[in-house]
Symmetry: C2
Subunit: 192 residues, 2 copies
């Protein structure tokens, strides 16, 4: 049984906690108020906070995060313009975080699935698929196993470089929902 | 009835021609041998050729393409590495083509839908959705109407800047199919 510490008690943090605990994992969600003072007890850490809130957390907990898997779920949008990302062109939030946490194993996951599709397990009639990218095969495999145990599909989408494409997909999906062209319970489902 | 000149007689050129002609449009596909010598008769031109083949076509036909809608369907992958795009970071094939054809109206479309999903009209149980990006609302609207007439869904995915995200999505989908994690008749379907 994996133990997860999840920074964030919003829609996404709660939905991810729901999936993983349904699969038998132990999860602990930390609120904004707890984020800076808490001791990290989980083997795996999930950053389920907006991208601008990540920096303070990883700066504060850098030593505790060393040696752990750190899962980045962010879509680093410029929410003022809804027209660009705030990470350098060609890079990704996940790559930026990995650069700041060289002793941690960073994975990208959960950024292409709206909270409602995690809660229901469905994207339309399709089982929701969580896309996972990262350079550590064992860490990806462990996360995929825990997501599958929670009743969702999960797919290894490649190396951490692919976080750029996952964030582009997440960005596109957010713009479509923001423009009411799709609903917040829809989005891109994966047909194998 | 729109008339389309489609450069390309491969899987994608044929599938696109099939969708549009099913909807009542007139389509003419030009083979590689015809690409340089042909006269462009269509009101709308579709570049259904690999990205490296685009340059010669648009150089040769620049004057004939002026004033027309030009639809770019390419995924500008480095097919040697399958790990990166060959356009500058943050840009897109569509933006590069628009830069070289300032007097044409460039749209991005059809790069996120495998040929099989255009032929069948289905991505799994979902109606296949063609994502269209571009800066000219009338040109997008006309293309969407013609795709709808052919029995597929089509969605305005935003400005030509969003071609970057559509190409990232196309790239990701190609890597998943190339790694046999999804089939060439599957991919990302859009749930509204």
């Amino acid at each position: 049984m994996t133990t997860y510490t999840i920074f964030g008690t919003g829609n996404m943090g709660t939905a991810i906690s729901g999936v993983l605990s349904k699969g038998g994992a132990s999860t602990d969600n930390l609120s904004h108020g707890e984020a800076t003072t808490a001791t990290i007890e989980g083997e795996v850490v999930i950053l389920a906070v907006p991208y601008p809130a990540v920096d303070e957390i990883i700066t504060r907990h850098r030593e505790a995060l060393a040696g752990k898997t750190v899962i980045d779920i962010t879509n680093p949008l410029n929410f003022d313009t809804f027209d660009e990302l705030v990470v350098p062109a060609g890079s990704s939030a996940a790559a930026e975080i990995q650069g700041k946490l060289p002793d941690s194993t960073v994975l990208k996951a959960f950024n292409t699935t709206f909270a409602a599709t995690l809660n229901s397990g469905k994207t339309g009639d399709l089982t929701t698929t969580v896309l996972v990218a990262g350079d550590d095969e064992a860490a990806k495999s462990a996360l995929i196993t825990d997501i599958n145990a929670g009743g969702l599909d999960a797919l290894d989408a490649g190396s951490l470089k692919r976080a750029h494409e996952l964030e582009a997909l997440g960005f596109l999906q957010l713009t479509l929902a923001g423009a009411e062209k799709i609903s917040w319970s829809g989005g891109f489902g994966l047909v194998k």
